[in-house]
């Protein structure tokens, strides 16, 4: 068992002179689920872009280091970074409907994502897609794969995006508010699914959200982002020990005390498995 963390982050980032992330410092272990909560404008999206090396595309600048298994991603060229994205770090985006190319079929999405990192498609891809769609509880028949993104529901689109993220068996998945566009029932199904997939594959998950309830439902550890710094970072079981005022004001928005939610989470996870099929 190696003791080097999967991800070690130490960075500052901003847009043309305006620093958005002042001092970000955290680690993520293999197979762990780290939930990051923060209000609007706290810098969550900037952090996600920084980790993927995509901040320059949105006109930003990042300094410091993002060590993925000891390998500093920020020191890599764009060419090298491309081979990391989707293969070692994958993204589950915020709005499922707009994150899929409306003009091509679901099958084409898998083909393109596969070809980004693999030379040969063929039967390896077909069996992988079949396996993934079963895991995210979607039909894998030809008729379904021929559909365009506009012909499936939002919940199905989010499941397709989860399958796409898992395609190359990444070590880390970044989920950027993956449930904010979904209705409450679909939301809890997706959270159950992510939790289950994390347990099966031991893929580490960096779950970013403004919604403390969903973060408490899914995470092993919770970090609070406030005004460009991580002000709290502790296991969810010890959430009662939080002392920073940003964390306390987040906790005060909960309808019930956090330990009730954590207690409920254990039962919900058991019940969610058969219910998630639909």
């Amino acid at each position: 068992m190696s003791h080097a963390p999967l991800l070690r982050v130490n960075l500052k980032a901003g847009y043309s002179g305006r620093l958005v992330l002042r001092d970000i410092h955290f680690e993520l272990e293999h197979g762990e689920v780290l939930g990051l909560v923060g209000g609007s404008g706290a810098g969550k999206s900037t952090l996600v872009l920084s980790l993927l090396g995509l901040l320059p595309w949105r006109g930003g600048r990042v300094t410091g280091e993002v060590l993925l298994e000891g390998d500093n991603l920020l020191a890599h060229s764009e060419r090298k970074l491309r081979t990391v994205r989707g293969r070692r770090i994958a993204l589950i985006p915020q709005s499922p409907m707009s994150a899929l190319n409306p003009a091509i079929s679901l099958q084409s999405h898998f083909n393109e994502a596969w070809r980004a990192h693999e030379r040969h498609a063929g039967s390896a891809l077909a069996s992988r897609v079949h396996e993934l769609l079963a895991e995210v509880q979607l039909p894998s028949d030809a008729e379904f794969l021929r559909r365009r993104p506009g012909q499936i529901s939002v919940g199905q689109a989010q499941r397709v995006l989860i399958a796409l993220a898992l395609l190359h068996r990444p070590a880390l998945i970044i989920a950027d508010e993956p449930t904010s566009a979904l209705d409450p029932v679909t939301q809890s199904q997706i959270i159950g699914l992510l939790r289950q997939l994390n347990r099966i594959h031991r893929t580490a998950l960096f779950y970013v959200s403004h919604d403390l309830i969903s973060v408490l439902q899914i995470s092993d550890r919770i970090a609070v982002l406030d005004d460009g710094t991580i002000v709290e970072n502790l296991p969810v079981s010890r959430i009662g020990e939080a002392r920073h005022e940003a964390t306390l004001s987040l906790l005060s928005t909960l309808p019930v005390p956090p330990d009730v939610l954590l207690n409920f989470r254990g039962r919900a996870a058991l019940e969610a498995q058969p219910a998630a099929l639909h």
Partner: protein, 262 residues
């Protein structure tokens, strides 16, 4: 929708009728009936003959097919060029896009009618009728792309900043894959551009022809036929013949516009 369908059928019927007129036995747009110049409608010449005794019906039919085909080919060429240039400008580095759009603006600012006249008049008098037709439409195509390229640029620019493009980039897709994935999304933009350019080119060719700068004789063109109108004596004698030509152009343009409406 119903209007669009009707227009498409009517346009197809017009083209079929023109083809039928031309494939009829003894039909020729260039054979001169020396016995009957400026003849009125008869069994032999249903729409009469022109100053050289050529059958007007056959000439109108041939002009329709020629101008529609030429305009369609020119429009396809100009749309393809615009798609390439617009997409390249949108996905290239910032200065590439900036330069491309500047060139478009310069092209749009050019007095294209004078340019057409200059290009056309620079051609030697011995230019064959077929190449005069090809050159006319080529020049139209060469001048038609900038407006379309700007529309493609704006569309592709929006796509570049779209969520799904961002997600594709986050999935590590290669640049070539990203470019390829954009093309199907540009079709709803390119198809109307292609369709609206056709009537624009038909009318441009007719205008050039009416100035004597279009397709060379003996090939028929609507502009060329209208050119005979500059003799007011002829105009007075034969107005019943020219009115249908003008009417036909109007109908054709209306039908194309209706069929092309996205």
């Amino acid at each position: 929708m119903r209007v669009k369908l009707f227009a498409a059928y009517a346009l197809a019927a017009l083209v079929l009728m023109a083809a039928a007129v031309l494939t009829a036995p003894h039909a020729s747009y260039s054979r001169q009936d020396r016995e009957a110049p400026f003849a009125a409608a008869s069994r032999k010449h249903p729409a009469g003959t022109d100053a050289l005794g050529r059958d007007r019906l056959a000439r109108v039919a041939a002009a329709l097919l020629l101008s529609l085909t030429g305009a369609a080919v020119a429009s396809a060429a100009t749309t393809a060029a615009a798609a390439g240039i617009g997409a390249l400008a949108a996905f290239g580095k910032a200065h590439v896009g900036w330069t491309a759009m500047l060139i478009c603006d310069v092209f749009l600012a050019l007095p294209w009618l004078f340019l057409l006249m200059m290009v056309r008049s620079a051609l030697p008098l011995t230019t064959s009728p077929a190449s005069s037709a090809a050159i006319t439409f080529l020049v139209l195509a060469a001048l038609g792309w900038p407006a379309c390229a700007q529309a493609v640029y704006r569309g592709a620019r929006n796509l570049r900043n779209s969520e799904w493009m961002f997600h594709a980039r986050a999935g590590g897709l290669r640049s070539a894959q990203m470019m390829r994935s954009v093309i199907p999304n540009l079709i709803p933009l390119l198809l109307p551009q292609f369709l609206v350019s056709i009537p624009a080119f038909v009318i441009a060719e007719a205008n050039l022809g009416a100035l004597g700068l279009g397709i060379g004789e003996p090939l028929p063109s609507w502009g060329g036929m209208l050119l005979e109108l500059d003799n007011s004596a002829t105009l007075f004698d034969t107005r019943w013949v020219y009115f249908p030509v003008a009417l036909l152009i109007t109908v054709l343009l209306l039908l194309e516009a209706a069929a092309g409406e996205a």
